[in-house]
C-alpha cells in the first residue's frame, strides 16, 4: 500500500470511518506482529506490543505528521515498545506459542520450526540495536533509507550497524554448528 493510500485511510479514520481503520489494521497488523516477535522472541509479548502500537497510534492520530510515512511511524512505535518491553524484563525466550505460517508437511514443518528456533535464538544473543536493524532489513524488508526513517539514525549508521550485526549473527550461527 502506498503512502498516499495510507494518508487517505488515516484521514478517513480521523473522521470516524471504522472501515478505514480495519483496512489499516489488515495492512500492518501482521508485519508489526512479526517485527515485535523477532525483537522479543515471544508470541504473547509480540501480541501485546502489536496491540499497544495500534492503540497508541490511534490514540495520538492527531499527532501524526503526514510529512512522514505512516508505516515509519508505527514501526518506530513498535521498536520503541519492544525496547521498553525488553527493559521491563518481561521477555520470555522461546517459540513455544508461535504458529509458523507454513504449508509444508509434518517433517518439513519440524525442520522449518527447528531452523526458525535457531535463527531466533541467535537473534536474541544480539544487542538490541543490532537486532533492530536485522529485523527491519531481513524480516520487514525495509531499505536503508526506510530503516533510517524508522530509527531516526543516519543511513551510514544503519549500514555500519547492519554489517556488524550480520557478522555477529553469522558467528553466532556458526558457533551453534551451522555452516
Amino acid at each position: 500500500m502506498s503512502n498516499s493510500q495510507d494518508q487517505e485511510l488515516i484521514r478517513r479514520c480521523q473522521k470516524g470511518d471504522r472501515r478505514a481503520l480495519e483496512d489499516l489494521l489488515m495492512q500492518y497488523q501482521r508485519p508489526i506482529y512479526n517485527a515485535a516477535f523477532r525483537m522479543l522472541g515471544n508470541a504473547e509479548d509480540a501480541a501485546d506490543i502489536t496491540q499497544t502500537v495500534f492503540l497508541r497510534a490511534f490514540e495520538h492520530l492527531d499527532r501524526y505528521n503526514p510529512d512522514y510515512k505512516f508505516f515509519s511511524w508505527i514501526y518506530r512505535i513498535a521498536i520503541n515498545e519492544s525496547i521498553n518491553q525488553i527493559n521491563r524484563g518481561k521477555r520470555e525466550l522461546g517459540l513455544e506459542d508461535s504458529q509458523p505460517a507454513t504449508t509444508e508437511g509434518p517433517v518439513d514443518h519440524f525442520q522449518a520450526e527447528d531452523a526458525s528456533r535457531r535463527i531466533q535464538d541467535a537473534l536474541m544473543t544480539l544487542q538490541e540495536d543490532f537486532r533492530m536493524v536485522i529485523v527491519l532489513r531481513h524480516f520487514s524488508d525495509l531499505s536503508y533509507r526506510e530503516i533510517s526513517e524508522v530509527l531516526h539514525i543516519p543511513e551510514i549508521t544503519v549500514k555500519s550497524r547492519l554489517y556488524s550485526a550480520r557478522q555477529r549473527l553469522k558467528e553466532e550461527l556458526q558457533e551453534d554448528g551451522e555452516p
Binding site: Q29, P100, A101, K159, Y163
Partner: protein, 253 residues
C-alpha cells in the same frame, strides 16, 4: 583482510543498494578476490536463512481485540460537520453572502448566535431561486444506474459559481466521492433539499465524500477559490460499495 570499501560493496550488493557502476565494480571484485567471494557467499547464505524463516501468525483474536479497543471520532451528520467547518469563517454567514447569489435557510440561520453551531436542525434549508441564480445554466449531468445506487448528479454554473446537485437513492450503504482537485474551485456550502436516509459528508482540499444510504437530495456549492478563474477539466464522481467502485463518471466544467 577485506577492506572496508569491499565489505561495504558486498553488503550493499546483498541489499540491492548498488548503482549500475558499483555493480560493475562489485563483479570485478568478486572475479579478482577469493576472500571477497567467500565473504559474499557467507552473507548470501545468512540472508537466505533469514528469508527462509517462516513468518509467525498473530493470534486470530488479536485483530478483534485491537478493533474493540480503538475509539475513533464519531462520524457527525453532515450538516453538523458543515456547521463546524464554517464556524469562524467568513463563509459562515452563508454561501449567498459569499457568492451574492443564494438565499438559503441554512446560511442565514447560521449567522445568528441563537443557534448553536452544532444545531444542524437549524441548517436544513432549501436553495431558493432568486435574482442571484438568474443566469445559472446546466453544464453537464450524470445518470447513475447501478444495482446499489440510482439517480443523477447535475452540474450547473454561472461566473465563478458551480452547483453540484445530487438526487440519489441507494439501497445499501455507499460512498459517493467527488474530486475537483485542480479545478480552481473550493467548497462554498451545502444545502439539502430533502432527506430520507442516513448520510455523513467529509471534506478535504479538492474533494469530498458522502457516505449515504437511502434517498438524498442536496446541493454542494463550489466557488472559485481566491477569485481565480475556473480551470477547464472535469469533476470526477465515483461511487464505492464496500470499497469497490460501482460507478465512475466525470462532469465537464
Amino acid at each position: 583482510m577485506l577492506s572496508n570499501h569491499a565489505q561495504d560493496l558486498i553488503n550493499r550488493a546483498l541489499d540491492g543498494e548498488l548503482s549500475e557502476s558499483e555493480q560493475a565494480e562489485f563483479q570485478a571484485l568478486l572475479s579478482q578476490s577469493e576472500q571477497a567471494r567467500r565473504y559474499s557467499d557467507e552473507l548470501s547464505l545468512l540472508a537466505h536463512r533469514l528469508a527462509s524463516t517462516p513468518p509467525v501468525e498473530p493470534p486470530d483474536s488479536l485483530e478483534r481485540d485491537i478493533l474493540s479497543k480503538i475509539e475513533l471520532p464519531r462520524p457527525r451528520k453532515w450538516f453538523t460537520r458543515m456547521a463546524g467547518w464554517m464556524q469562524g469563517r467568513p463563509i459562515s454567514y452563508g454561501i449567498a453572502a459569499a457568492a451574492g447569489l443564494l438565499v438559503t435557510v441554512a446560511y442565514y440561520e447560521m449567522g445568528f448566535s441563537r443557534h448553536s453551531a452544532t444545531d444542524y436542525s437549524s441548517l436544513v434549508g432549501t436553495l431558493s431561486r432568486g435574482d442571484g441564480l438568474r443566469g445559472v445554466v446546466q453544464l453537464d449531468s450524470l445518470e447513475i444506474n447501478s444495482p446499489a445506487i440510482q439517480g443523477n448528479v447535475t452540474l450547473s454554473g454561472k461566473d465563478d459559481l458551480r452547483l453540484l446537485r445530487f438526487d440519489i437513492d441507494s439501497s445499501v450503504p455507499v460512498d459517493v466521492a467527488v474530486n475537483f482537485e485542480g479545478t480552481g474551485l473550493d467548497i462554498g456550502g451545502v444545502a439539502r433539499q430533502s432527506h430520507g436516509g442516513n448520510e455523513n459528508l467529509s471534506f478535504s482540499d479538492g474533494n469530498f465524500t458522502v457516505a449515504t444510504l437511502g434517498k438524498q437530495q442536496f446541493t454542494v456549492v463550489l466557488k472559485s477559490d481566491g477569485g481565480e478563474t475556473i480551470n477547464p477539466g472535469g469533476i470526477a464522481v465515483s461511487v464505492r460499495r464496500d470499497g469497490e467502485e460501482v460507478y465512475e463518471g466525470v462532469l465537464n466544467l
